[in-house]
Amino acid sequence: MPKHDTPLLDQLESGPWPSFVSDLKRQAEKSPQCWDILGQLELSFKDRITHWKHGGIVGVFGYGGGIVGRYSDVPTQFPGVAHFHTVRLNQPSSKFYSSAKLRDICDLWEKYGSGMTNMHGSTGDLVLLGTTTANLEPLFYDLTHDLKQDLGGSGSNLRTPECCLGRARCEWGCYDTQALCHHLTMHYQDEIHRPAFPYKFKFKFSGCPNDCVAAIARSDFAVIGTWRDDIRVNQAEVKGYINGDYAPNAGAHSGRDWGKFDIKKEVLDLCPTGCMSMSGDELKIDNSECTRCMHCINVMPRALRPGKEQGATICVGAKAPILDGAQFATMTIPFIKVDPENEFEEVIEVIEKIWDWWMEAGKNRERVGETIMRLGLPTFLKVMEVEPIPQHVKEPRSNPYVFWESDEVEGGFERDVKEFRKRHAQ
């Protein structure tokens, strides 16, 4: 494959941020089809429009997802990218790797693909970018036999679950995000590989309300760690912060002189519920008022820790704006135990209730959040057999258009209009 002139892309080789153009050129020395990636991308930069066609359906036998088909619309000019399908590899929970594992993946991709990847795609998969239809089955064979790993999801199925690194290296993981993510990924292999849903369904697991994997914004099923007892306070360390022994917010603001740490201004006054106060040098928290927003803990990580009675809040139905507008996930289960001992039975029960309903009630290409919007949160709560509580809403409804049901009203809806007329002339 010949090199192409890429005067526009070449301008993206300068500057301090790592250059994907330089990287592509480096790879092209080993994988000549990368010259055609560069060539076609240069053409897109020149024409200011994409040169990829619709995917078409490609995949490996027995799977309905994991491969995204892609073809060039200028294949004679750039034969190296005539077929350019992506392969989604299910990433290990929270994306730790050994170099040995990564080298195996690199070797596999050098053999069967373009050598270009995304580390990682937005859903979490390790994305191998660019191969031919003929290479898919051999790649899958080597992947499962030699690397002993599997594809992720795409299409109307369970998408590859993703989690924050939680307890592996963060002090705030209120449940074991990796263990839950891995367990459910294994438990639902069929749902990941064989589309049978109205539309895509995403699981995301964050260990605390900082929500580093953005579960509440982009997953149909968001499990976000929390606690229900008291924030653990180490008063000596609180004094340490007040005295300026430690940088607030773990040093996150140390690049600018913000003045001396002021616990009132920076913690107490920013607490959204105003539930903190100082009694002399002692920090008091009225924990029954706390909404577990994490601000105080973020600012004073040595002094404050989440409580000990830990679990998670489950929120359901987030999605990007397509079609009716963006939705955050709606708080559905305020507190649930996330227990590896019983193989996360409680969480699985919630998931299956949602799926049973959504697979019946959901329309084609309707995310569960849209189904809930269309049929109403009250309907959804009934399906979930969840007791309605004030926590389910920001405020009660302001219209009186209540959908009473016949059996909720004394005597029911059946009435005799003739009896009515006997007492009320027309």
Partner: protein, 376 residues
């Protein structure tokens, strides 16, 4: 034995899932799993996590393009082998993290990274700007209204000093999605760069019969703008086809996703919208959606100067005006969006007034407002 095309089902292995995560933990992570006490950012890009056991885990976070080669990954492996017992990880924002178990090992690692040109910039922690999460763009997708990797490179080159420092009032999360599908779910970012189309789809009547199921194409439009029609194609045959009511079209591209005979991308029509003020974390205020403040900027390749300048302006005004800990959206809400437009000098246009579904929620139904330069 490898794959045998004559017997594709022989020895087939399926549904084995991902490798178990635990085998990839560095020893210090494995030993102290679930027993971390606190963390501290020692310098931009360098974190120290302290465990109950007294052990310390030092993490060096490095930026990367999302589109990376296996040669680059192999170089990361070399670094991990040399300094980190052969382990590393990637973050959800496409950064890589190298972990070592003592402070003495940090500087040699930093020196090694610095010796490799601009390939491994250290930063992305605390009150700065970490890597931009993004989608495929012209490098791989068929529906983009802008590129992804190119825009991100141009913007990160410009914001680089914020990647390697921690001088902002809070962390600023930037995200890019190259079309309204928003694969990257940018709708809750401090600053969202969003590819938008502005011309309704064309209809390729000569191709539509073979390519599309018309009922699906018609049903795909959220606004009912795609209607059935009859058309005489180039061969002179009357065929069943579709037409688009341009007045109803919001340029979402859903029809094109269902029907390849309805392309809508266009060099002049396509470009970038900027949305600001979203957040995901629950810290202080609840999660917020990003709001559209700049409806359109052109696709000026290769460096999108208008987009780069617009983002720098927002970041700089925010950096000067916001209080410590305030995210962009919290700042804009405190001062009021009218002040946001006044202070940033971004022209307020009618395009920022919602006229889609649920729009009323965003209209002001109060006499409380500030007199800014918008009121003549």
């Amino acid at each position: 034995m490898g794959y045998d095309p004559a017997n594709p089902m022989v020895d087939r292995i399926t549904d084995i899932g991902p490798p178990h995560y635990e085998q990839f933990f560095p020893p210090v992570v494995k030993k102290n799993y679930g027993k971390w006490l606190y963390h501290e950012i020692l310098q931009p890009g360098v974190l120290m996590h302290k465990a109950e056991s007294g052990d310390e885990c030092y993490t060096v976070r490095v930026g990367a393009a999302r589109l990376i080669s296996i040669e680059h990954i192999r170089e990361m492996c070399d670094i991990a082998d040399k300094h980190c017992d052969g382990f590393l990880r990637f973050t959800t924002r496409n950064n890589a993290e190298f972990m070592v178990d003592s402070k003495a090992k940090v500087q040699p690692l930093l020196d090694d990274l610095a010796s490799r040109g601009n390939k491994f910039p250290v930063g992305g922690t605390g009150a700065g700007i970490t890597n931009i999460v993004h989608t495929q763009g012209w490098a791989h997708c068929h529906t983009p209204a802008t590129d992804a990797s190119g825009v991100v490179k141009a913007v990160m080159d410009d914001l680089f000093d914020y990647f390697t420092s921690m001088t902002l009032p809070a962390n600023v999360r930037v995200a890019l999605a190259c079309c309204l599908n928003m694969c990257g779910a940018v709708h809750a970012s401090d600053i969202a760069i969003l590819g938008v189309h502005r011309k309704p789809p064309m209809i390729d009547h000569d191709a539509i019969s073979g390519l599309c199921e018309l009922p699906l194409a018609i049903a795909s439009c959220p606004l009912g703008a795609v209607k059935p029609t009859k058309h005489v194609n180039s061969a002179g045959d009357e065929i069943k086809s579709v037409k688009v009511n341009a007045e109803r079209c919001m340029f979402c591209g859903n029809c094109y996703t269902m029907c390849p005979a309805m392309p809508l991308a266009d060099p002049e029509g396509d470009g970038i919208a900027i949305l600001v003020g979203g957040k995901v974390s629950n810290s202080r205020s609840m999660p917020k959606f990003s709001k559209l403040v700049i409806p359109f900027l052109p696709n000026n390749t290769p460096r999108w100067p208008e987009t780069v300048a617009a983002i720098r302006n927002i970041v700089e005004v925010y950096a000067k005006d916001a209080r410590k800990y305030e995210r962009v959206g919290e700042w804009a809400e405190r001062i009021g969006w009218e002040k946001f437009f006044e202070k940033t000098g971004i022209p307020f246009t009618i395009k920022s007034i919602d006229d889609y579904r649920l729009a009323y929620d965003t209209w002001r139904t109060s006499t409380q407002f500030k007199f800014t330069n918008h009121i003549k």
